[in-house]
């Protein structure tokens, strides 16, 4: 009777286990919430709040960065940018975290996938990390294409290095890896070999490049989109993104979309 009964999200309180400042404005948070951790899939997200008063007003969406169903915890990798993330950055182990999740559709890894490329800029790697780990588990070869403003903002590079076939870096200032577009590296790879699926974080610029490469090299490609969200569960129709098939809710029909369906206005 309820259409989405099968995958109904939960609203529960979690417990902050740790909150670590990685560098600059980047933090990693571990939250204990077994009911959510057990259901979470790569590419999905939670709506989260650590505030009781009404400023900030809404919950904030964050991708699962790590999922540990055994210990009933999940991780979030986040960047401090505004009101909500400032409160998160100051929070301490033991604090309560109000959660709604898991939300959204998650990444699809088609059967018989031999290799994938992940393309991310900065914090965009957060959503892709569990996908990388899951792919590794399934024995899929991973090509990682990572970019950032500067070297020390190339997040999780050690971890990704250790489990990927190949990792390519670019930084805007050239402080690590090359300068320039990380998708040029991808193009070089595509010239040499077949990549089954490309996954890209929500960066408009990167996604457009992937779309262009896709037209040429014909691979499956998925993007994880971000839009401002009020509810996260599909009720408010606030988080839409333009697609070939009209406006789609990022929280409900997404956040993962086939790259070829997404339309960026310019």
């Amino acid at each position: 009777m309820k259409i989405e009964n099968i995958n109904i999200p939960l609203m529960i309180s979690g417990n902050l286990i740790e909150n670590i400042n990685l560098n600059d404005n980047y933090y990693r948070m571990r939250i204990k919430a077994p009911q959510i951790a057990r259901k979470a899939k790569p590419g999905q997200f939670v709506m989260l709040s650590m505030w009781k008063n009404k400023d900030p007003f809404l919950k904030r969406p964050f991708s699962f960065y790590g999922i540990e169903s055994d210990s009933g915890t999940f991780d979030i990798l986040y960047k401090e940018i505004g009101k909500g993330t400032q409160i998160m950055a100051k929070s301490k182990a033991g604090d309560l975290v109000e959660l709604i999740g898991p939300l959204g559709n998650g990444f699809k890894i088609p059967e018989n996938t031999n290799n994938i490329a992940v393309v991310a800029r900065g914090i965009g790697i957060a959503a892709l990390m569990p996908l990388i780990l899951e792919s590794k588990k399934r024995g899929i070869a991973i090509y990682a294409f990572l970019s950032a403003q500067t070297g020390n903002l190339l997040l999780c590079s050690n971890e990704i290095n250790s489990i990927s076939e190949k990792v390519f870096y670019t930084t805007d200032d050239g402080s690590k890896g090359a300068k320039g577009m990380v998708t040029n590296f991808l193009q070089n790879v595509l010239k040499e070999e077949v990549i089954d699926v490309v996954y890209v974080c929500g960066s408009k610029r990167l996604t457009k490049h992937i779309r262009n490469l896709q037209r040429k090299y014909n691979f499956l490609a998925f993007v994880s989109l971000e839009e401002h969200m009020a509810c996260g569960i599909g009720a408010c129709k606030g988080c839409v993104h333009k697609t070939n098939d009209g406006y789609k809710r990022v929280c409900k029909e997404g956040p993962i979309f086939p790259v070829e369906e997404v339309i960026f206005d310019d």
Partner: protein, 305 residues
């Protein structure tokens, strides 16, 4: 929860088992965290405004948080009335036996067609008329023009036998006049209020934060304005009132009841707390018990001039 106390309210022809329901556009029966039993505990269910024909709604960004509030420029994406009856109404029917349907149109005939089309459906308990949404061709909003408001409600009445709830716009200098006009035109109930028109600008990027330039302000920020409007209408127009705007806890809802509302809708608060409507129902019950009232009727409109 002891059942010593009655939460039942009558809004003219409309009887509710309790005064709490979702505000249109903030609740979707297809994406709710509430289960069947919980949905049935609501005083009514009120889905997002529907239009006669399919509409896609506004371009993004549609949502922008403000201090203690929320600007939205969702518009009214709708799959049209036929789809609504086929796909959504059956779900609503199973969830609750009081269903209020919110109507949106671009013109008087638009609204009348919609009302007429729905008149047969016995499952629908009342029609709420969304007066603040779209522009008429000549640029005048129903919700801020007494003559247009009268004409609209008067004509809708001719096309339906269902109770009419006029959902007023708060963007007016005298809400009492609008309520009186709606009543005179045939509305049996007033909902006050829809969102206040607002705007936000990203000063770094120098762009409007909403795709549609302007949007409607909802949330706790606006509650004092709405409470005032409820009270003004309650003091001057003899018509049942549904209050809506910024309610996020039982105390907020009770404030509206004391000011003169017979029922209360909850909108934006559902977003950060999908259980809020249930908590408010419980909280009102506790308040009545603590204060030793037998019935919610005892507190409706308690605050007099």
């Amino acid at each position: 929860m002891t059942k010593e106390v009655s939460l039942e309210v009558d809004l003219g022809p409309l009887h509710l088992k309790n005064p709490i329901m979702p505000a249109s556009g903030t609740f979707d029966i297809r994406c709710t965290l509430l289960n069947q039993k919980e949905l049935n505990r609501l005083g009514a269910i009120l889905p997002k405004s529907i239009a006669f024909q399919e509409r896609e709604g506004n371009p993004g960004p549609r949502i922008c948080e403000t201090d203690c509030g929320l600007l939205n420029a969702v518009g009214v994406p709708s799959k049209g009335v036929e789809y609504f009856i086929k796909e959504e109404l059956p779900l609503l029917k199973k969830a609750n036996n009081t269903i209020i349907v919110s109507l949106m149109g671009n013109s008087i005939p638009d609204f009348c067609n919609l009302a007429g089309y729905l008149n047969e459906n016995k499952e629908i308990s009342a029609l709420e008329i969304n007066l603040s949404c779209p522009n008429l061709n000549n640029g005048i909003l129903f919700g801020v023009n007494q003559d247009k408001l009268y004409e609209l409600i008067f004509n809708i009445k001719k096309n339906t036998s269902k109770p009419i709830i006029a959902k007023l716009s708060p963007n007016v200098s005298d809400i009492r006049e609008m309520a009186l006009t709606a009543k005179n035109a045939g509305a049996q109930i007033i909902t006050v209020a829809n969102t206040l028109m607002g705007m936000a600008i990203d000063v770094d990027k120098q762009v409007f934060r909403l795709g549609n330039t302007m949007g409607g302000l909802s949330g706790p920020a606006i509650r004092p304005i709405v409470v005032r409007m409820i009270w003004e209408i309650a003091q001057s127009v003899d018509i049942p009132i549904i209050g809506v705007g910024g309610v996020y806890c039982a105390e907020n809802a009770i404030e509206m009841l004391l000011a003169g509302a017979s029922a209360v809708q909850i909108g934006s608060a559902n977003f950060f707390n999908p259980h809020v409507m249930l908590e408010v129902i419980e909280g009102i019950e506790k308040y009545l018990i603590k204060k030793k009232y037998n019935s919610i009727q005892d507190i409706i409109g308690l605050m007099k001039n």
